[in-house]
């Protein structure tokens, strides 16, 4: 299992892996927003956490179809299916590797983008924390979409359409927790804890669904 984790990590960091492209996409999306809404710093700092979250959501979706696609292409997917390890566990490890390769860079890049958005320190910290907790949920829920994409001749965009509605709760609680840290009356902890709960829940549901889809997409 550790070998699988390391192998996947290496693949994603290497040239041609999605990690760098994901971060670049994230930065580009966030950088484009001020051109759309204007360079008003007050407005930007107000919508900043939301923009950073939406950018992270989109770029997390971008790399998803690669999750099982390479295995599909070189045939190692069949090997994974035939192993005696439970497939759910394998999928979970693959998700973790994918998150370490693609999700974590987004979290690390987010403070920089927060500065661009004129957010204050507390807001940046809160956004980073919620991203750290929330992006694994995006990966897990996206794993189902990626497993479905394996069966599709041309997956890509369709997967994003299928996964986005399911990712709405993560976005809502991530953003509202980030806002709660800045705006006084709203407490930070409830939305944050709900976000944690959602991530835990998807950590179970995502690999289960993805394993089921992989088994059924095979033959």
């Amino acid at each position: 299992m550790t070998a699988l984790l390391l192998r996947d990590l290496k693949l994603s960091v290497r040239a041609g892996g999605g990690a760098l492209i994901g971060v670049l996409f994230f930065m580009t999306v966030v950088a484009v927003i001020p051109f759309g809404v204007g360079p008003d710093l007050n407005l930007l700092s107000r919508i900043g956490p939301a923009i950073v979250w939406i950018g992270a959501l989109l770029s997390a979706l971008l790399g998803l179809d690669r999750l099982f696609q390479t295995e599909r292409e070189d045939g190692s997917l069949d090997l994974l299916l035939m192993q005696e390890h439970p497939l759910v566990l394998t999928v979970l490890v693959k998700c973790l590797a994918h998150w370490l390769g693609n999700g974590l860079p987004l979290v690390i890049a987010s403070p920089l983008l927060g500065l661009f958005m004129n957010m204050d320190e507390v807001a940046i910290g809160a956004t980073m924390l919620t991203l750290l907790v929330g992006t694994p949920a995006l990966t897990f829920i996206g794993a189902v979409g990626a497993a479905v994409a394996v069966a599709l001749p041309r997956g890509g965009l369709l997967v994003s359409i299928l996964v986005l509605p399911l990712a709405i709760p993560v976005l809502i609680f991530g953003v509202s927790a980030s806002y709660a840290a800045v705006e006084d009356p709203a407490p930070f902890m409830p939305p944050f804890l709900i976000l944690v709960a959602i991530t835990m829940f998807f950590a179970v549901l995502g690999p289960l669904g993805a394993a089921l889809a992989l088994r059924n997409a095979g033959d």
């Binding site: 829920i141 189902v144 497993a147 479905v148 069966a151 599709l152 001749p153 041309r154 369709l158 359409i161 299928l162 986005l164 509605p165 399911l166 709405i168 709760p169 809502i172 609680f173 509202s176 709203a186 939305p191 709900i194 959602i198 829940f201 549901l205 669904g209 089921l212 889809a213 059924n216 997409a217 033959d219």
Partner: protein
Amino acid sequence: MTDSLAISKFSELANPTRFLALAARILPWMAAATVILFAIGLYLSFTTEGDYQQGATVRIMYVHVPAAWLSMMCYTVMAVSAIGTLVWRHPLADVSHKAAAPLGAAFTLIALATGSLWGRPMWGTWWVWDARLTSVFVLFLMYLGLIALNRAMDDPSRAARVSAVLILVGFVNIPIIKFSVDWWNTLHQPASVIRMGGPTIDQEFLWPLLIMAIAFTVLFFTLHTMAMRNEIWRRRVAAQRRMAARMAGREA
């Protein structure tokens, strides 16, 4: 022993030919029931008095609420069929959830459109990011995604199994989405535009509403049976064409 017996019973039930015979027998009755119920329901919904608060617009409720109810029931039907597909490999279940998706999308569209038309005189805007409207909208997107997925795949049985997984994941998610949308809505509540949900429903409105709801439900099942029958026929045509091609190839 009992297990194999149960399975053989299921496969007997799953026999598409038997389903077609049954459908041919009950469809006229269902269609007739739909027409009668709609006639009664429409008559009642136009003869009963309007609400003194909302005026005549309360009549929109008689199509809006049943459509919204169906949009949720249809997803439940699809989820049950999806379990049938994945657990029992029930061939009719594949057909069932594939046929239900466009119907669900259509009823959800009706619910959204009438909700919007109701909102215009009541709230002053066509669209309010109200918790209920928003979650129905998300449901609509999910239906469209499932239809797109089914269309994108060539092999029908594989498409059925993969979309069954997605339907179930979505079904588990719907309560979470509903909960989070409610949360989000209370957080961003704009200065009380929503006056809905206020009037307690009394007998006057209950009858037309109930009959319209039953009429819509029967309509759904009629259409669903018809669509399932179409899908079975479509698969038969495809299978026979394949066979014909194979035979032609052998002869040549």
